[in-house]
Structure formats: C-alpha cells, structure tokens
C-alpha cells in the first residue's frame, strides 16, 4: 500500500511537470505577439522595449526562461505581464470563490442525481422513468454558459428573485453568500445531474438483478432495507469515483464558464481573462492549479480504490 501511494505521488509530480512544460511551450513556440511590446503600452519606443526585455528576461534562451518562471511559481514571485500584480495573490483571493462554487454544485448534483436516479430505477420502464430520463438528457445537452446567462437575466435581473451575479464572502454574510450562489450552483449542477442520475439508474438496475439481492429478498429483508443496505451502497461506489474525477475537472476548468457568466471572480474567471490576453504567468499558474486539482483527485480516487481492493492493500 505504501509503495502504491508513493508511486501515485511520483506520477502526480511527473504529470504536473509535463503540464507546465506543455503550457510554456504552447505560449512560446506558437506566434502570439511580443509581450514586451504589449507591456510597453501605446507608444512604445525601441529603448523602452529593450529595457523591458532585459528586465523580464525575454532575451534569455527558452530553457532559462522556463526555469526562471517555474522558480517564481514556487517562491510566489510570479507577476502578471500586463497588470503587474502578483499572480499568487489573485489565485489566493479567487480560491474560496471557486471552491464555494465547485463544492456547493457538487453536493447539489450528487444529492439530486441520487434522488432522480433511484426514483427512475424503481419506476423503471414506466412514464416517470422515461420523463426523468428525457429531463436528464436535456440537462446534459445544455451549454452551461447559455442556461446560466438566461437564468441570470430572467431570474436575477428581470424577476429580481436572485442577485444579478457577484459574490459575497461567507465570512461577511453566510446567508447572502448562499443566496448569491444558488443560481451558479444550479447552472453548473444541471449538466452533471443529468449524467449522474442516469449512471446511478443503470447501476441500480444492474445491482437489483444480482444474486445477493435475491438472496437478501429470500432472507426476508424489506425492500427498503435491501435498497439502502445493498443496492444503493454498491451502486454508489462507481459513482463516487466518477464524482471525484469530475469534481477535479470542475475546479480545474468547468467552473470557468460559470464564473464568467455570474461574475464570481474566482480562479476560473481569472484564468479566462488571462488566456484571452495571452498573459503567460497567470495562465501558467492557473493551469498548474487546475491540473493539480485534477491530478490530486485522480490520485485520491485511485488510492481509495486500492485501499478497498485487498489485492493491492496487502502488497
């Protein structure tokens, strides 16, 4: 087990390194405009541009630039080319917002998906099942920024039922914090509810037909006891795995669109703004941040699985 964990952690490190290389490569090899000229402002002169190049090390060869930038990432000195503000500060400020969005949405979608999926499975083949399936499929088919923008306008601005975007710190006012997040949570969750309810439904249906369920029924357990103790528990395991992976992916990138639409100013929105301007330091930092989450949750899921699997645990 210990060896397994060590191996996974090493793997994590390798992936992060590869991601950082790839990001840097994309920005420096593909023609994308000279950042020194951009930083020089509207009336750049050659002297100014040269001075900028010298100060920021743009004249160094690409490996030196890579190492300098990576060093800055670890020492927290990374500064945006264009706003001159430290990237680390921005990410730290945006982190609670992104996490609030992701965790809230994840809990919401799991809860609703379990209810829908279970209900669907129990009424399998009947109208309720087919109706819920169509609803789920509609959910999977909607672009989150579209439904988010529409909800924000019609429910937020027009009907005034919800605030029109923005974020309130939890420490300032927990109720207002939740109030501002209801629409974003819903928008983000719609997509996943659709997917997870269907996976759960099919897992439940598979499990119901397993032998041990029939045995349990023969033993005289009530339907409810069977559902909860055997069926649900076993159907949930693959779901939880997927959930871990998707949550990582949401923090890693899916949240970008939702944050942009609802103006939550989390890490995702920061990344989107920076990428549009080809501002390399924040993009590098946010990409590593996102990749880290994905990789971390992947590893956690793997390790938990390995723990549950006695073959690996006993190694």
């Amino acid at each position: 087990m210990g060896r397994f964990i060590v191996r996974r952690v090493l793997q994590m490190g390798f992936v992060m390194f590869a991601v950082s290389l790839l990001t840097f490569f994309i920005f420096n090899v593909i023609p994308n405009g000279d950042p020194a000229v951009r930083m020089a402002g509207r009336q750049p002169t050659e002297t100014q541009i040269e001075a900028i190049r010298k100060e920021w090390g743009f004249n160094d060869n690409i490996f030196v630039q890579y190492f300098t930038m990576m060093k800055k990432v670890f020492t927290g000195d990374l500064v945006s080319y264009f706003t001159q503000l430290p990237v680390g500060d921005e990410i730290v400020k945006g982190l609670p917002r992104t996490l609030s969005l992701a965790i809230g949405a994840a809990l919401l979608w799991m809860f609703v998906a379990i209810c829908f999926g279970l209900y669907s499975a129990m009424r399998a083949g009947k109208f309720a099942d087919r109706f819920l399936t169509i609803i789920a499929l509609i959910g999977i088919s909607m672009p989150v920024f579209w439904i988010g923008a529409l909800m924000n306008y019609y429910l937020g601005y027009k009907a005034g039922l919800f605030p029109n975007g923005g974020y309130v710190e939890f420490s300032k006012d927990p109720i207002d914090w939740a109030y501002h997040l209801i629409l974003p949570w819903t928008a983000l969750a719609i997509l996943f509810i659709g997917f997870y309810s269907r996976v759960l439904r099919s897992n439940v249906l598979d499990t119901i037909n397993e032998d041990y369920v029939r045995t349990a029924r023969a033993k005289g357990l009530t339907e409810r006891q069977i559902m909860v103790r055997h069926v649900l528990r076993n159907s949930l395991i693959p779901i939880v795995t997927l959930w871990g992976l998707d949550f990582g992916a949401v923090v890693g990138g899916g949240a970008i669109l939702t944050e942009t639409v609802f103006d939550l100013q989390g890490v995702g929105q920061y990344a989107a703004d920076a990428v549009g301007q080809l501002d390399v330091p924040p993009v590098l930092a946010t990409t590593l941040f996102a990749a880290f989450f994905i990789v971390l949750l992947n590893a956690v899921v793997d390790i938990v699985y390995a723990y549950l699997d006695p073959r690996i645990r006993l190694q």
């Binding site: 793997q11 992936v15 992060m16 590869a18 991601v19 790839l22 990001t23 994309i26 920005f27 593909i30 023609p31 994308n32 405009g33 399998a124 083949g125 099942d129 087919r130 399936t133 169509i134 499929l137 509609i138 999977i140 088919s141 909607m142 672009p143 920024f145 579209w146 439904i147 923008a149 529409l150 306008y153 019609y154 601005y157 027009k158 099919s202 249906l205 598979d206 119901i208 037909n209 992916a249 890693g252 990138g253 899916g254 970008i256 669109l257 942009t260 639409v261 990344a271 989107a272 990428v275 549009g276 080809l278 993009v283 946010t286 990409t287 996102a290 990749a291 994905i294 990789v295 992947n298």
Partner: protein
C-alpha cells in the same frame, strides 16, 4: 424487473422447439440484427434520430433558404436597411443599436428569426452556423475516434513500454484543463495560423478548432478502449488466432477491432454531441470559430450581452444547439440500449 417469462416446459422434442422459435421470430440472429430490431422498437430514440437528420438537412439546405427566402447571405450586413412589415417601415437595426426581433413570415421570410447587431439575417446565420458547428463536431469526433483506437489498441494489446508511455501521455492530456488549453491554443493560433512543416493553416480555418477539440477528447475514449482491448486480448478467439500464426496487426484488425465496434458506435454519437458543446464553449470565449464565420457558439456569445433588449440573439442559437445535442444524446442512448445485451430496460413503447 423484466426478464423473459419462462416458457412452459413440455415434453416435446426439438421439432416443437423449432416451431416455437419460428413463432417468436428468433432465428438465431446475429448481435447486429438483434440490435437493429431493438432499436427499431425504440420509438423515442428513432424520433430523435429523425429530428437530428432533419436539423442536419436544414443546415445543408442553408444556401436554398439564403437565396430563395431570405435573399441575403450569412455575412451581408444590413445596418441601414429597412423592411416593410404590415405596411410600415421598420429599421433592421435601430438607431440605438437594437436589432429587430423574429419577423417570421411578416417580411416574406426575411429576418425570419430576426437580425443581429450587424443587421445580418439570423436564420441564415443559424443554418450556415449549423454547418460549421456540425462539421466541427463530426470531424472532431472522427479524429478522436481514430486516435483513441490507435492509442487504445497499441497500449492495450502490446502493453509493456508502449502502454506506459501512452498511459503517461493520456494522463497528461486528461489533467490539462480543457477549456484553458482550448482557449490558449485557439487564441494563439487564430493570430498567426498554424505552420507545421508542409501543413499551413490560416488563423480562421475551421481545422484549428477541429484539431483542438479532437485532441482534447482522446483520453476520454482511449482509456475505455484500452480497457476493452486488455480484456479482449485474453479471450479464446484471440488465442486461437495467435495459435494459427496471425501477426499482431492482423489480430488487432480482424479480431479485436470488430468487438470494439459497439463501444465505438455509442461513443461516437456522444462524442459528436460533446464536441458541439465544446465548440460552443470555445467560441463563447473567443477561441473557436473566428468572425465573420457564424457558428452556434459565436452567435450565443454575441447574444449574451443583449438579453434585455434582443433576447432572440441568444435564445435562438441556444435552442437550436440544445435540440441538436439532445437528439444526438437520446438517439445515442437508444443505440446503446439496443446494442448492449445487458441493458435491462429500454425506452420502449
């Protein structure tokens, strides 16, 4: 539960069983034919499949609509023009920049679904945009499928160092935040185009979003393919082929690949659906299809700012996109149900 009701056991012989089989029309059909039958019985899936074909046909017919009905093109601006509705003149784009909403047939089909901020006909752009979105979706799905099959086969069949390398590659791709990668590549390439040796692509070529989206989904499909190849590899018929002296390439193509087929087909429809959604997301962030070419994503992008004064700009392309993706999803679902013998309940009438 819906298992087959047990047939009555009688003491009749094989002849009776034959007769019974005749009655039930189960002549030992192969899995494909069986699948097709099940699909045919799934009315809802067929309905949505038909809807998808209808939408595709409408987009293919874009030039017809543009020439005969709307009498304009996808990029022609009508900023200062007017249309006559109920005898009155209406500005296509108002002085305050607000474009006119859906006219339906009131102006002889011109601006059927309204105009956009440049005075262009939304219906025409919707159909031409659909062509772009669908083209991107399908071709990207094809690229993903081909790459996934190659990588999955090589990794799953040969294992060893090839597997390790491919798995590492997939891990990295999987961990890369999709949107950031897509936007970064899209923005960077839109600027200068792509020059890879002999291949030269202009910045606004559709090949760029196609390439990005196709690449992004590879890990999602390559992993299950690899998993399946791993298990198929151990099956008896593969052993048998190997014993007969067939080389690995031959085995991959004649034994393994066909068995992957049903997985691939199901994945393919879902890939198209997801590719269309990803294209919309990239275009929304400015990294997908480049102006002035329309796509459903760019149209939604243009509309999101003007929901208050011109909601049709965002609603129309969004609804079209949802319908298309939904029909693919429902149909793909039906195909999966039909081909998967373990599926317990289907959407049947």
């Amino acid at each position: 539960m819906a298992t087959e009701p047990a047939t009555e056991t009688t003491l009749q012989g094989p002849a009776a069983w034959e007769a019974e089989a005749e009655r039930e029309h189960v002549h030992g059909l192969g899995p494909w034919k069986l699948g097709l039958r099940r699909l045919r019985r799934n009315k809802i899936a067929l309905l949505f499949g038909f809807l998808f074909i209808l939408l595709v046909a409408a987009c293919i017919a874009a030039p017809l609509w543009a020439d005969k009905v709307a009498k304009t093109t996808a990029n022609a601006n009508h900023l200062s023009d007017t249309i006559t509705v109920d005898g009155k003149e209406k500005n296509v784009v108002g002085l305050d920049g607000v474009p006119v909403g859906p006219q339906w047939w009131k102006a002889d089909g011109k601006f059927f679904l309204g105009a956009d901020r440049n005075g262009r006909d939304i219906m025409v752009r919707l159909l031409y945009g659909g062509r772009n979105s669908l083209e991107i979706g399908v071709v990207a799905a094809v690229i993903t499928t081909i790459l996934s099959i190659i990588l999955g086969l090589v990794a799953g069949y040969f294992r060893g160092p090839a597997d390790v390398v491919i798995r590492a590659l997939l891990d990295v791709m999987w961990s890369f935040p999709v949107i950031i990668l897509g936007v970064a590549l899209g923005v960077a390439l839109a600027l200068g185009g792509l020059k890879l040796g002999p291949i030269k692509l202009a910045g606004d070529s559709l090949a760029i979003p196609i390439f990005i989206i196709g690449l992004v989904y590879v890990p999602y499909m390559a992993r299950p393919v690899r998993g399946q190849v791993l298990s198929l590899r151990e099956k008896e018929f593969v052993e048998a082929a190997r014993a007969q002296g067939a080389g690995p390439i031959r085995i991959m193509f004649t034994e393994v690949l066909p068995n992957l087929a049903s997985t691939m087909i199901v994945f393919f429809t879902l890939l198209i659906a997801n590719a269309i959604l990803l294209e919309a997301a990239l275009s929304f962030l400015g990294a997908g299809v480049q102006p002035p070419s329309p796509s459903w994503g760019t149209m939604i992008d243009e509309g999101v700012d003007r929901i208050a004064t011109a909601p049709h700009l965002a609603v129309v392309p969004g609804v079209m996109l949802v319908l298309t993706v939904l029909s693919l999803n429902v149909f793909g679902d039906g195909v999966r149900d039909a081909l998967d013998p373990r599926a317990k309940v289907r959407l049947e009438r």
